[in-house]
């Protein structure tokens, strides 16, 4: 009992009387000032890093905003302004049959609760106006050649398909040739006599 109480008291006295090593104040002061000066030097670097990060974040935000505004026009509007040539490339059979391009007259979905920007308003007004087919595009060189190949009903060609007509035409052509040959021979004989 007495021993325990004595030991507790000794420990409490030891804690109470604990003394720092001499010169502690000086060491602490020097160390704290050194740390403070380090911080003073380090602060501008930290501030610069923060500023750079802020600028980068601002640039990123602006880039995202501009992509969001201009990079994704509505699908309906894209379909509406599709050039005729692009449509022809996509559907050649339609063009060859000389049919006009069919336009999708889908209506843009209503955006409730959102502020419609001016650019979007223009696009929406375009969508709501009655659409007209694009003017007929001139034929390309290839298309013209194709038309010439598949063209039918030439009277001379049709006539040559008939055997009687063909035989008559051949006989006529043969007679014309003979006449030409005889005429040529007569002309040569007359010239020989004149020379003699």
């Amino acid at each position: 009992m007495r021993n325990s109480e004595e030991t507790i008291e000794m420990i409490m006295a030891g804690l109470r009387d604990a003394e720092a090593s001499p010169g502690m104040e000086g060491r602490i002061l020097a160390s704290v000032e050194a740390r403070a000066s380090e911080r003073r030097v380090a602060t501008p670097r930290w501030a610069w890093a923060m500023a750079m990060a802020g600028v980068a974040a601002a640039l990123l935000f602006i880039a995202i905003l501009s992509i969001h505004r201009h990079g994704q026009p509505p699908a309906q509007a894209q379909q509406h302004v599709l050039p005729a040539e692009t449509a022809r490339d996509a559907q050649p059979a339609t063009l060859l049959s000389q049919k006009p391009i069919e336009f999708n007259k889908a209506v843009a979905p209503r955006r409730t609760g959102a502020r419609i920007r001016s650019e979007e308003a223009v696009l929406l007004s375009d969508l709501h106006t009655p659409s007209h087919p694009a003017p007929e595009a001139p034929l390309t060189q290839e298309e013209k050649l194709l038309l010439r190949v598949v063209h039918k009903g030439d009277p001379q060609v049709i006539a040559m398909l008939d055997p009687e007509e063909r035989a008559r035409q051949e006989a006529k052509s043969e007679a014309e040739f003979q006449k030409f040959v005889e005429q040529s021979g007569k002309d040569v004989h007359e010239s020989d006599q004149t020379t003699e």
Partner: protein
């Protein structure tokens, strides 16, 4: 009056000097008290000294808001107390108690007696560590003679009566446990 007139002309350097003067005064006034507070928890001089240094680093960090502190002494003690508790979690209790017990027993006459006394102190210190947290903290803080019950209560965030009750319970429990250990032997 002169200081008020020159107040608007205070340069950065002057401010810096002012902080240094204040810091020197603070270190001079409170470092020993803070050392004892930290030492009661850590029981190692070097560690306690590091804690005191950290306290003044905090002071430098918060120098712009120092004017808002109501009681500088309690504020500093509370910082030292919390930093010491934080540091203590990283130190094994046996590590800090062994050298402390040996330093206390050094006053004993013979070597055998010194060894026996050191052994007894280590047992008491171990039992102190096993006390409930609130009781242990009050007991350790009560070892700092400069702190009254009101200041202890403020540091620990308790009422004065609670501190007194905790202190009584801590001493009673510690004594009982030590007697029980003695009886077992």
């Amino acid at each position: 009056m002169a200081s008020i007139a020159g107040g608007s002309l205070i340069s950065f350097a002057t401010k810096s000097v002012q902080v240094e003067v204040d810091l020197a005064a603070l270190v001079e006034t409170y470092s020993r008290l803070l050392f004892r507070v930290a030492h009661s928890v850590l029981r190692t001089r070097a560690e306690a000294e590091d804690v005191v240094q950290d306290v003044f680093v905090r002071v430098i960090e918060r120098r712009r808001s120092l004017h808002a502190i109501r009681d500088m002494r309690v504020w500093l003690v509370r910082i030292a107390w919390n930093l010491a508790l934080d540091r203590r979690r990283r130190i094994r209790p046996e590590q800090m108690d062994e050298s402390f017990a040996e330093s206390l027993a050094a006053s004993a006459v013979s070597a055998g007696e010194r060894l026996e006394q050191a052994q007894r102190m280590k047992v008491v210190l171990r039992e102190m560590e096993r006390l409930p947290k609130a009781e242990r903290q009050v007991l350790l803080l009560s070892a700092v003679e400069e702190l009254g019950t009101a200041e202890m209560a403020e540091v620990l965030g308790r009422s004065e009566s609670a501190v007194r009750a905790l202190l009584f319970r801590a001493r009673t429990r510690l004594r009982e446990r030590l007697e029980a250990r003695g009886g077992e032997r």
